[in-house]
Structure formats: C-alpha cells, structure tokens
C-alpha cells in the first residue's frame, strides 16, 4: 500500500504541476472529484508549485510592457448549452451517461469502452457484470484503475467507489467484481496486459492484435 500511496503522490503532484498527460489529468481530476481528502493534498502540492514562481531567476520580457496587458478581454463566449448528463465531475465532459455508451463486449460479463481524450491519448471505461472474474494478469507499464461505480476485489484488497489502484509488472492479480452491483472503472494503461494461466497464449495474442490495430487506426 505504501508503494501505491507514493504513486498517487506522483500522479497528484504532476497534475498540480501541469506536466501529467491529458489522460492522466482526467484520471487525477476524477480521482480528486471523488475524494475530498485528496483535494487538500492537491491544493498543498499546488501551493508548493506556486511558490516555485518566486524562485525563478527573473527574465524580463522584451516585447511588451505592463501597458500592453491592460486591455479589456472580449467577454468570453457563453458556455455551450447545459447538457443532460448523468455523470458528474470531469468525466462528464467526455461521457454523458454510462447507459448511452456503445459498450464493446470483450468476454462474458466484461465490457469496455475506449474513448479519445486527445489525438494520441486514450482512456477506457471497464464494466464488469456482478461476480465477473478477470484471468490472472500483470501489466507491462503502469495501469491506473479508478472505481467509479460498484466495487471489485483482488489479492490485494477490496476497491470501492473513489478508490484508485495502480499496478505494474510486479503485480499479478485476478480482479473479481462485486457479486451484487458489479463495477464500472476508469482505466488508463501505459502498455498492454500480460495474461497468465491456461488461456494465456490466446488472450495475449488477442491483446497484441487489439493494440496493433488500435495503434494503426
């Protein structure tokens, strides 16, 4: 757990500093939206980032003066019409409702929906029907799984709404969704999954082909 909290610190600090990728920023923003305690950590890290402004060696701009900045901005365009959305928070900017999504079935009880957050970055929603088990696997890069609805458990514990699990190659796990509600999670994966066990060769080939075609789209 110590390791996981360290990785969360890194995620929140890079989000505060503005150097997190857009999909990780979406993840961090959604995580903070669901965890008010962590918003204090974010504000704290943002305070540290802000204080660094005082430390920079001054480089005076040459092209303009204070006078050039004292101009009235045009009133900003009114925000687009209020959308009828079921999902609150930052994710609501990308997805209106879990029910309106065109879920793609991966196997029985396991659906996913991949969406673009930028031309080069994607995020994924995972929906597990109650009591669905994902075969033993690990991850080539880091995998961030944020529980949005319901819960799941694995060898390391139970993860409820708002909990963030961060996995990598060293962690092999077999997640099982809640037997009553299943779960919906936001997932950011740096690299593909690696499956283990009797069906591993087939699952790994499917994963490879999927990522190959998705990369070449």
């Amino acid at each position: 757990m110590e390791k996981s909290s360290n990785l969360k610190n890194e995620l929140i600090f890079s989000y505060a500093a503005g150097t997190a990728s857009i999909n990780k920023s979406l993840l961090a923003a959604t995580y903070l939206f669901l965890n008010s305690n962590e918003r204090k950590v974010f504000s704290f890290f943002e305070g540290i980032c802000g204080s660094t402004l005082n430390n920079y060696q001054k480089i005076k701009p040459k092209k303009f003066t204070a006078e050039d900045c004292m101009i009235e901005n045009k009133p900003s365009q009114s925000k687009s019409e209020i959308k009828n959305i079921d999902i609150n928070g930052p994710l609501g900017n990308f997805i209106d409702s879990y029910n309106k999504i065109n879920w793609k079935k991966i196997f029985k009880g396991f659906d996913e929906y991949e969406f673009s957050v930028s031309p080069s970055e994607k995020a994924k929603l995972i929906k597990l029907a109650p009591n669905t088990r994902i075969p033993l696997h690990s991850h080539q890069g880091q995998e961030y799984v944020l529980v949005l609805e319901g819960s799941f458990k694995d060898e390391f514990g139970t993860y409820k709404k708002g909990d963030l699990q961060i996995n990598d190659l060293r962690i092999k796990h077999t997640p099982v969704s809640c037997p009553i509600n299943g779960c919906i999670c936001l997932s950011i994966v740096e690299n593909d999954l690696i499956f283990y066990g009797p069906f591993a060769p087939i699952l790994n080939i499917i994963t490879f082909l999927k990522s190959f075609f998705s990369f070449n789209k």
């Binding site: 909290s5 360290n6 008010s36 918003r39 204080s51 480089i59 005076k60 092209k63 930028s118």
Partner: protein, 175 residues
C-alpha cells in the same frame, strides 16, 4: 514581496482597475512567469506571448482571486500552468480550439481551504536540498521521465524513483 502585499495589489486591480497596482504586480511576476515558461520548454518568443496572455488574464480577472482559497503566487501559477498546457495541446492538435479541455479538468470547486501562506510554502521548498530540487524540477516541471533523469544525472533508475517518492512523502507530511 509578501503575500499580503500582493493580495492587496490584486484587490485594487480587481475593484478599481488600479493601473499602478497592476504595474507592481507586473514588475514582480512577468519576469518570473517568463522564466518559468522558458525553463519548462517554451522558446523565448512563445514564452513572452504566453506571459503577456497570463498578465492580461490577471488584469481582467483579478476580481476572481479569493485570498481564502489560495495565495497569490499559487493563483498566478495556475493561470500560467493552464496557458502552458493549452499552448502545448494546440501545437499537438490544431482542432483543440473547439474544446476548452484544460479548464474542464482543472475547473473544480475546491472547498479545501489551506491556512498556509506563501511564506510557508516558500520555506518548505527552501528546506529541500539542491539535489531534491533538481529532481523535482526535472520530473514535474520539465516533465522528464525517470529514465531520462537517470541518464542525465548518471544515477541509477531505482535511486531516482525512490528519491522522488521520498521527497513527495516528506512534503506531504507537512499537510
């Protein structure tokens, strides 16, 4: 300059469009924002353009600054940070103008009030030793990966990772 003084200047700009107060804020922050943008990878031209945009936002939106929520440096840093991300995004994706994504990701009402003032954060960042500062700068402000930091500083990758994690944990202990 102390946060209280900066905060008074901002409220004069926000309430009365005080040009003299803005000039003081400009003198203090414009060269620092410009330096921050250059250090984080913008070329000199772009850094100046973005600095001008940031200062124009301050002139127009000073009335939105809430001293109960953050100190002045943090508020101005967030404007500069968002402008910087915006410019990087626009460079990568010409269609980006259509959506104000960054605002949507950062525009959260944060009711978590921090009592610490600018001085506190300044002292805290001063407490970090030079090596820690270099690591934090390279990783979180210049956006360099652990691997690149390890190669640049010629220290093992594992050491880079563990030191960065230790620094953040140490900082977090101060909350």
């Amino acid at each position: 300059m102390e946060n209280k003084e900066l905060s008074n200047l901002l409220s004069k700009i926000g309430n009365q469009k005080d040009r003299l107060a803005f000039k003081s804020i400009f003198e203090y922050f414009a060269p620092r924002i410009n330096a921050y943008l250059i250090k984080t990878g913008s070329n000199k031209d772009l850094a100046e353009d973005l600095t001008q945009e940031v200062m124009t936002v301050i002139w127009n939106k000073a009335d939105l600054y809430n001293s109960m929520k953050s100190n002045v440096s943090t508020w101005i840093f967030t404007i500069a940070r968002n402008k910087r991300i915006d410019s990087l995004r626009k460079k990568k994706d010409p269609k980006y103008n259509e959506i104000d994504l960054i605002s949507s990701l950062y525009d959260q009402e944060n009711e978590e009030k921090l009592s610490e003032d600018n001085n506190f954060f300044h002292k805290l960042s001063q407490k970090l030793n030079e090596n820690d500062k270099i690591l934090i700068n390279m990783n979180f402000f210049e956006g360099k990966t652990h691997k690149i930091i390890s190669e640049t500083l010629e220290i093992p990758l594992g050491t880079v990772k563990s030191r960065i994690r230790k620094i953040l944990s140490k900082l977090r202990e101060n909350i």
